[in-house]
């Protein structure tokens, strides 16, 4: 007997029943199709845009992410240039191919040099666009794909993320809802991206005497630019 049959058979023997079918299987099928949400923390519910953005910022700051709010995409080049200068970082940096970054007037800061594509191991700074922000815990949700290589989230020492305020949701469940809709309905199985990253602050470790140190393997610093312009989806 194959290991697979043996294991499945063993489970059925232990549970003293055969393979599930009929009504019971239909119930399980229904549970997957409806993917019900359970208890959702009140702190992330019923907030308007302003409240959600405020909660996102409050939670993110608590986990050592830094946040800057800018009015529109036009303000992004200055914000990025200021950040690079503050930490004495190179003006040449990696940036994902995300089309939203095409709408940023980079030429207003001619010294900035964007290398679009996936990062190389020597890039000190990376710039990405967030798929959404989860206010509940100040978490960024990033999707892999041609527009946003996942390595950008991990290789550079400094990770800067552009996040339109319109993409901030309350609890985790709303983030999944957003993904399900973006991919056209509830059959998420066929369209799940290879990698979904929930990122909650910069990399850290407490493995040496439980003393918290930043930048274990991923970015030492994470900086989010929240773009408040409501016209960006």
């Amino acid at each position: 007997m194959s290991a697979r049959d043996d294991i499945l058979g063993g489970i059925r023997r232990s549970l003293k029943r055969g393979a599930l079918g009929g009504e019971r299987a239909a119930q399980l099928e229904g549970r997957l199709a409806n993917h019900p949400s359970g208890i959702i923390p009140r702190r992330s519910q019923g907030l308007d845009r302003k409240g959600q953005t405020a909660l996102f910022e409050e939670q993110a700051v608590e986990i050592a992410t830094t946040i800057e709010r800018v009015a529109s995409l036009r303000d992004v080049p200055k914000a990025v240039a200021d950040y690079l200068q503050r930490f004495n970082l190179p003006a040449e940096f990696a940036a994902t191919p995300d089309p939203l970054l095409d709408k940023v007037p980079w030429n207003e800061r001619p010294l900035l040099k964007l290398k679009r594509g996936k990062p190389s191991p020597t890039d000190a700074v990376g710039l990405s666009v967030g798929f959404c922000g989860i206010a509940e815990t100040g978490t960024l949700m990033m999707l892999s794909g041609p527009d946003n290589p996942s390595t950008m989230n991990f290789l550079p020492d400094d990770h800067i993320v552009v996040l339109p305020a319109s993409r901030i949701v309350g609890p985790m469940e709303e983030a999944w809802q957003k993904l399900r809709q973006a991919k056209g309905g509830t059959a998420v199985a066929a369209t799940m991206p290879r990698t979904v990253n929930f990122i909650t602050g910069p990399s850290r470790t407490g493995d040496i005497e439980q003393k918290l140190e930043m930048g274990a393997h991923g970015p030492r610093r994470q900086h989010i630019l929240i773009v408040e312009d409501d016209s960006i989806a």
């Binding site: 499945l8 063993g10 794909g145 470790t205």
Partner: protein
């Protein structure tokens, strides 16, 4: 990993005398419990979430075969492969075969307890494939050739001085006079050393905190980001997970994530929670070209339907050990196998047999703290008691203890005889006690007990005698 669980008593004795270990454990006892309390204090729904988490996992376990098949179907639909392994031997062989097929020389590894369970590192090394641990704690103990002592903080038994010593010994290409006094410089050095390894590795092996039936995804949770570099950079990503890691949907995974980090480290969320589904897509600029999942049973199907089924709800948060007075006194190595603390005291005999785990179910004061902090409400003390019963039935407990308990049971079933002997014993002990000032500092057959405390001597008459006398007096009055 070779088990030394059967020598728990000796291991514990050594641990209590180890000054480095005791200093490290002091820090742990002060850290984890307070951080957990702070985190759940900010989430009023925490108790309800525990109840919900328990229900989700119970539902999965009752329907495990159905969910596993659905999970498998969705992994395949996403372009991945599922390999089923009954035993550690089968799992190891599957991974080695995959490495050989890929021509892999080095394998980076994210932290996985299942790899410890199947002793993967030794096996790969014996067969010419070099495994490299990338979680900082795991990296340190791999360099020291030690097993992990905690399921989420594998090097918690070490002081920074010991880590410095190890790094100086192993990283010989770095200047000998470099300053490694602060944890910060140790972390930076490990980061540099491991970055090279990440970039060169052929295969990445990770565990999984959850497997999602709805999407065929595996989920890993880390703070360092090592698991992500492990699975993103090499040509193939192999996930090694045990059967019970299944949850139905993304929403169910989220419900359990709200419990995991808070119970483990006192964070609301760990830094990186990553959902991986299949290999990289044709248009993706990065990610692994192959995606394999090895599903390990190793005794778990046998736990289903037994009094130990509830143990399969465990999400490996470590809260039970962080709060356990026994773990806090002796650390994880004394438990002698992969899983320490209260969860280990139940899981170890379930997976390697009570004969090999021997005294582990006794490594408990039955204070109940573990169950009260377990996010999945697993009745750990109750299950340890089940094992004590089995241990008794299998005649694995010490002979004097068995004789004493049998004698007591014989008398307790015969009340007149019991009263007779008890009255005599009380009188004799009472007489002796008057000679020694009312308490005993040494008693035959109870040397271990009286070594650390005195037993107050009985007053000379048993409770039952006194009770009867009082009842008589009452009636007379």
């Amino acid at each position: 990993m070779e088990s030394t669980s059967h020598t728990f008593k000796d291991n514990a004795h050594d641990a209590l005398g180890n000054a480095h270990l005791q200093s490290a454990l002091d820090k742990m006892r002060a850290g984890f419990p307070q951080r957990r309390l702070d985190a759940i204090g900010k989430l009023p729904e925490f108790e309800d979430l525990r109840e919900q988490g328990r229900e989700i996992k119970n539902h999965v376990l009752e329907n495990l075969d159905w969910y596993l098949e659905r999970y498998e179907r969705n992994v395949i639909a996403a372009g991945g492969h599922v390999h089923w392994a009954r035993t550690p031997e089968e799992a190891r062989q599957i991974i080695l075969d995959l490495c050989r097929k890929l021509g892999a020389k080095t394998v980076t590894k994210g932290k996985t307890m299942i790899a410890e369970e199947i002793a993967l590192n030794d096996f790969l090394e014996e067969n010419g494939v070099i495994p490299i641990e990338t979680d900082l704690g795991e990296y340190i103990i791999q360099l020291r050739h030690e097993p992990p002592s905690h399921i989420i903080a594998p090097a918690i038994h070490l002081t920074k001085g010991q880590v410095e010593e190890t790094f100086r010994e192993v990283h010989t290409n770095l200047p000998a006079d470099r300053n490694l006094e602060e944890p910060r410089s140790l972390v930076a050095e490990a980061r540099t050393m491991l970055r090279e390894k990440f970039l060169k590795a052929d295969v990445g092996v990770t565990g999984a905190n959850f497997l999602i039936a709805e999407t065929g995804s595996s989920v890993i949770v880390t703070n360092e980001g090592n698991g992500d570099l492990t699975q993103l950079l090499p040509r193939a990503h192999i996930v090694l997970a045990s059967l019970e890691k299944i949850v139905p949907t993304l929403e169910d995974a989220s419900a359990l994530l709200r419990l995991l980090a808070r119970s483990a480290t006192g964070q609301d969320m760990s830094v990186y929670t990553t959902f991986s589904t299949g290999p990289r897509r044709a248009e993706d600029p990065d990610g692994p070209g192959e995606y394999h999942v090895v599903l390990l049973d190793n005794g778990r199907t046998g736990m289903l339907g037994s009094e130990f089924q509830e143990m399969l709800r465990c999400i490996r948060c470590g809260a039970c050990m962080n709060h356990c007075p026994v773990y806090g006194a002796v650390g994880g190595h004394a438990y002698g196998w992969v899983y320490p603390g209260p969860m280990g005291a139940v899981l170890t005999p379930s997976l390697i047999g009570i004969e090999n785990a021997k005294h582990l179910p006794n490594a408990s004061t039955f204070c109940g703290k573990c169950e009260s902090v377990c996010p999945m409400k697993i009745p750990l003390p109750k299950m340890m008691r089940h094992y004590r019963e089995r241990e008794w039935q299998k005649k694995l407990s010490p002979a004097t203890q068995r004789f004493g308990l049998k004698l007591w049971a014989f008398l307790a079933l015969r009340p007149p005889l019991y009263h007779f002997f008890y009255a005599i014993a009380a009188q004799v002990l009472g007489l002796l006690g008057r000679r020694t000032g009312g308490s005993f500092y040494n008693l035959p057959l109870a040397g271990a007990w009286t070594a650390t405390r005195d037993l107050p001597a009985p007053q000379g008459r048993s409770f039952q005698e006194q009770w009867h006398q009082r009842q008589k007096q009452k009636k007379a009055a």
